[in-house]
Symmetry: none
Subunit: 192 residues, 4 copies
DNA sequence: CATGAATGAGTTTTCATTCAT
DNA sequence: TATGAATGAAAACTCATTCAT
């Protein structure tokens, strides 16, 4: 009685379990058996579907990035003017749910992991470049020759807020973070 | 080779070797034998002097932080006015030698590690808070009620530039980075 | 080879192998790999099932004690009068198979080990107290106010015979040992 | 300035430190460095004087035995009749200071060690045989054909009391122990 | 005489991975 | 499809022992 669509279900479950385990342990240095435990399957099954631990982790990273990408796209859809688009990007990056301890932690861990894994590095670079390119595209009509600078500031500021978040004990205020970034770019818009 | 006073020398060498190994491998997940190899000693010696791998890594983190702290203090000494002090802080954080691939990589890796190790987390928190407190202190006469915001922006921006640096392939321009931050806070100063 | 239900079999085999290794080496200071060798499995498997070397040794000790306990209970079943019960206890403690070099050696080693391991100490204390309590219970109707003394003598004598056995080269005579103890308590019975 | 008689002093100190360490750790499985620490010297010195760890432990065992032998001889000197001699032997074996936790523990540990070390086994066998021979010698005029049995009972009882002592938590009563043994052999004397 | 320095040789422990069922 | 069973390979850690000074 082989269940139809089991493969798909198992892959999804295992990826979710991987992210959960990474967040729980606070490191990429986790055991396959722990992941499998979270997914309520044997660790042999994880190998069956993903071939190896590192491929499973790759898949989890890819999932995190694609999830984020979808959130950004969704947010962008509701915006029309460049101003709105920029605001949308900031809101998407610093959205309440992206700002949860778990997500922040996972991002940081993957960033560090990218120092180690060329594969991860490439994936993250694609994401950073795409976001940066979006930012520049929507900032250009607003900032003119300051565009490059403004994009760099916004992008870095967002990442910086993220990384700091990882160190804090107190609950972060996503709303304050968004405001901070928006205020910060005002001068670049004004100068145009 | 048994000359007395070796202990101090070995400890320093081993700490340096640890940082080098972390940077080389791009992860905290390194072998004691690799560290020892870089220090040209047996791995048993590393255990002899530090007790365990994690204690050696702690020591390396502590060293990185204290090195950074000394650089900051040195830079601050040459500044007198609040403006100069703030500039000094930015310059120290984004100094050419702090901006090397190795250092950037080590910082990022330790940031991620802090998700895992309470000890590391505390050490990094102390550093972040101290820097932030310095920033606020010198920004206050310049920014008034915008101080909190300005300090947050500067601090986060610096961290963000750092983290992004870790993803880049092209050589970073430390000078451009410093200028970026300095320009970015101009509006906060002007508004006072 | 992966047949289900192996776990129980392996645990038993590994415990037996542990006792055998202890007896062979004459010390508790044995290698997991030697134990595993006797059980024809990898040392990793020993860790898989028992977690650590000391837990495996604990389990072996527990097994030895429980085996002994069962032998005592079995012997007691065939006795009805207090006299018979006391004889049974002595016979059980100094039974031919308990008196083999391997068992004697293991007991002595565990006794010494109990100086080191609180866990082992507690287990052995329970056994000693239970046996002593049994002895007193059945001696009381026979010895009256001399019960305490008689129980102490029998218990100590048995242990002493055991410990001496460990030092001998010549094969011990279990039968002679049993007679010795039985004769020794006669006076305590008579005095009642 | 080589100090005269240093060698002798160091050997004594190291042997004492060895016994102390064995008692403290409750096992023969101790570190040379711990012994050296107790003697306030470097572990290299222990090797200098004893060649190896096992030779140092041998020496400590030899010392324990010879100390005990001296105590027995001293006690025997004050006795004249066979009765007194037997009493002396019992008193010497169960003397207050031989009955201390440390001594009891050391004896037990050495007994177990003798399962492992042929050297230790031989030393202990010599001691047991000598004591047994003494016992028989003085018991013969008192017990006649029961001598063998009586000697076995006394010897084993003493060892048994010792081994049980090692398991107890409550402080033992050496006096009670001596009385117990003395009462126990009365019947053997009477029967003669 | 004495030791700080150093290490080789082991031993435990961990885990991804394989495989028969 | 799924897993219990098993292990090889690697890594941390320990410690007796050696040696130059």
């Amino acid at each position: 009685m082989p269940k139809i669509g089991m493969e798909d279900f198992r892959r999804k479950t295992l990826i979710a379990a991987t992210l959960k385990t990474i967040q729980e342990k606070g490191t990429i240095d986790i055991r396959v058996s722990d992941i499998a435990g979270h997914a309520n399957v044997s660790s042999a099954l994880a190998h069956h579907y993903f071939g190896s631990k590192s491929q499973l982790i790759q898949a989890a990273l890819r999932h995190l990035l694609s999830d984020f990408r979808l959130a950004v796209l969704k947010e962008l859809k509701n915006a029309t003017t460049p101003q709105e688009k920029v605001i949308s990007l900031i809101d998407a990056c610093l959205a309440d749910d992206q700002f949860s301890d778990e997500i922040v932690s996972a991002w940081l861990i993957f960033y560090a992991y990218s120092q180690n894994s060329m594969e991860a590095r490439k994936l993250l670079q694609v994401y950073v470049r795409r976001l940066q390119s979006n930012l520049r595209y929507y900032l250009r009509p607003l900032c003119g020759h300051k565009t490059e600078e403004a994009a760099e500031v916004v992008g870095s500021l967002i990442d910086g807020i993220f990384i700091r978040q990882a160190l804090r004990i107190e609950k972060a205020d996503a709303n304050y973070a968004r405001t901070l970034v928006k205020e910060c770019i005002q001068p670049y818009l004004a100068r145009n």
